[in-house]
């Protein structure tokens, strides 16, 4: 049990002494997670909106693909992205292999189905009559999309939280595409892996704790935003109500 305690102590020392190395890894992690989430939103939101709002041929196929994408194995995605990005490979000219942008690309491929599928479900749950009414009063496509995103915001922000969380914690694709290069492409999750491999359990626990803290803080903050202004929080028991 001692080494766990030592690990925790070491973790707090690393965190509170302002260790540059830790901050570097933290910076890379946030850079990757924010970049991948933004890219996933850029691709996933239009797809989710199209599936949730549109009535076109192939809608169900697209929805099925997005849903299937929720179960994409990160290692396989990482492998495929890496194979395309290696020097001499079709996309080798982009020089993305072993770079942060390469990791962002792989993470976004993993995260956009989450954004797309959750957004489609959330938009689908908004009463259709509202969209029909908006169309009947001359709403443009952009206005319909804005209306759908606003009405389905709890689900859409939920999708963003899920995408961000997956981008923060992913390991397999990051290692394969980024190479887990310390100080360059190492994230908190892959740092844990590297430290454990090197037998540095204390440092591994430290990185792990920071990652957990980050997940909690980001998830909590986004949840507050998700339910901001929701009147359901204002419900109270009726005065005088008694359990019988």
């Amino acid at each position: 049990m001692n080494f766990i305690w030592d690990g925790v102590k070491q973790a707090f020392e690393l965190i509170f002494e302002g260790n540059d190395e830790v901050f570097d890894v933290l910076g890379v992690t946030l850079h990757v997670a924010v970049g991948a989430t933004l890219l996933a939103l850029f691709v996933g939101l239009p797809l989710g909106l199209a599936c949730g709002l549109g009535r076109f041929h192939g809608r169900r196929v697209l929805l099925a693909l997005l849903n299937a994408g929720l179960g994409l194995p990160p290692v396989v995605v990482g492998l495929i992205v890496a194979l395309f990005l290696f020097r001499g490979a079709p996309l080798g000219g982009l020089e993305l292999i072993y770079t942060i942008n390469g990791i962002i690309l792989a993470q976004a491929i993993l995260a956009f189905p989450i954004v797309g599928a959750f957004t489609a479900t959330a938009v689908d749950a908004v009463p259709r009559a509202l969209f029909d009414q908006a169309r009947a009063l001359g709403a443009s496509r952009a206005q319909l999309a804005t209306l759908a995103l606003r009405e389905a915001r709890v689900g859409v922000i939920g999708a963003t939280i899920a995408a961000f969380g997956s981008a923060l914690s992913e390991v397999g694709a990051v290692v394969l595409v980024g190479g887990n290069i310390h100080g360059q492409t190492q994230t908190l999750a892959t740092a844990v892996l590297a430290e454990v491999s090197a037998g540095q359990y204390g440092t591994a626990i430290a990185f792990g704790l920071i990652l957990l803290g980050l997940v909690l803080i980001c998830g909590g903050a986004m949840t507050l935003f998700q339910y901001a202004g929701d009147e359901r929080d204002e419900r109270r028991f009726l005065p005088g109500w008694r359990a019988s």
Binding site: D132, A134, L137, G138, S140, E231
Partner: protein, 329 residues
């Protein structure tokens, strides 16, 4: 039974008054000719001709499944036409049967409708406030739309269509799903609002009383066809076909030489000195009266409302009729 109808009994003065409404309408702002719509292989609308004029309120009446909502959606250009053509000289706004509001304040909902319509941002607040006030809903402005009652949501729903000030306004059952007291309150609130000399208004309504209260013109739709089109007094009192008459409440029928007289319960009264002998077949209590189903001596069946307690089932009674509409065989 076919051929032109002729009206029995004295012409009610109401009919004269309502005829005056006919001349209010101006130029046709929306013209539909031979409108045909198919759904799932079946023709839901079969060659409907309809012209909506500025300053005129047109009510579409018909039983369930007659194609009323389909007609409204087709007029709004929301459905592909299988035949006919549609010409609209102005901007059209329609309000669906469901009062679907966005999850924000009432005022924001009306402002949102104005934004969809393309009204500049600076004008929206004032126009939204004006429309809400017109419907007696100004005190709702700050409330969240999701917290409104059914009647309040209807008011906001109507306010946002009125706010955009369209040239043609189509309303699909604006009072659907409301209980009678809220319904009559809202009816009272919109009766003057609907009539605007710059706008043609067309609404699908549920019952004759609403058509009578709101409309300058009534269109009766049966099985996808227009069977009557005219001022409410004429259409409701002198329906042109037996089918239209039956739908409009002429449920009593009395066969006589060369034709059939169709009568509403209001056209039939118990009178010991009346010319028609009948037997009471059934009685059903209605508000403050009893509705009698009567077997007359000749061919046919009549209905009338009698004051309580009224004759028992099997009793022999005498009747007189006033009004009704006759169709020759």
């Amino acid at each position: 039974m076919s051929g032109p109808p002729d009206v029995d009994g004295p012409k009610s003065p109401d009919i004269e008054d309502f005829s005056a409404r006919q001349h209010r309408g101006g130029r046709g702002v929306l013209e539909a000719r031979g409108l045909t719509v198919r759904r799932g292989g079946a023709e839901v609308l079969r060659g409907v001709d309809l012209e909506l004029r500025r300053g005129e309120v047109t009510a579409i009446l018909g039983p369930n499944g007659a194609g009323k909502s389909t007609l409204l959606a087709a007029l709004a250009g929301l459905l592909p036409l299988a035949g006919g053509d549609l010409e609209c000289h102005g901007r059209l706004a329609s309000a669906g049967q469901v009062a679907a509001l966005a999850q924000r304040s009432v005022r924001a909902n009306v402002e949102l409708a104005l934004a969809w319509w393309g009204v500049p941002r600076g004008e929206r607040r004032e126009r939204a406030t004006r429309a809400l006030a017109a419907l007696g809903a100004e005190e709702l402005a700050g409330r969240r739309a999701t917290a409104l009652s059914g009647g309040e949501a209807r008011r906001v729903h109507l306010a946002r269509v009125l706010a955009v000030e369209p040239d043609v306004m189509l309303l699909d059952e604006p009072f659907a799903g409301l209980d009678p007291s809220v319904r009559s309150e809202l009816l009272y609130a919109v009766v003057d609002l609907l009539r605007d000399p710059r706008r043609a208004t067309c609404l699908v309504v549920h019952d004759r009383a609403e058509a009578w209260a709101l409309a300058d013109r009534v269109v009766v739709l049966l099985d996808g066809r227009v069977v009557a089109d005219g001022v409410p007094g004429e259409v409701l009192e002198r329906p042109p076909t037996p089918e239209a008459a039956r739908f409009l409440g002429f449920d009593g029928e009395l066969a006589d030489a060369g034709g059939t007289l169709m009568l509403r319960p209001g056209h039939v009264a118990l009178d010991p000195a009346g010319p028609i002998a009948a037997r009471v077949a059934r009685r059903v209590l209605v508000e403050d009266a009893v509705r009698l189903e009567l077997d007359p001596a000749g061919d046919g069946r009549l209905f009338c409302n009698a004051p309580l307690p009224g004759p028992e089932v099997g009793a022999e009674v005498r009747l007189r009729t006033a009004g009704g509409v006759r169709f020759s065989d």
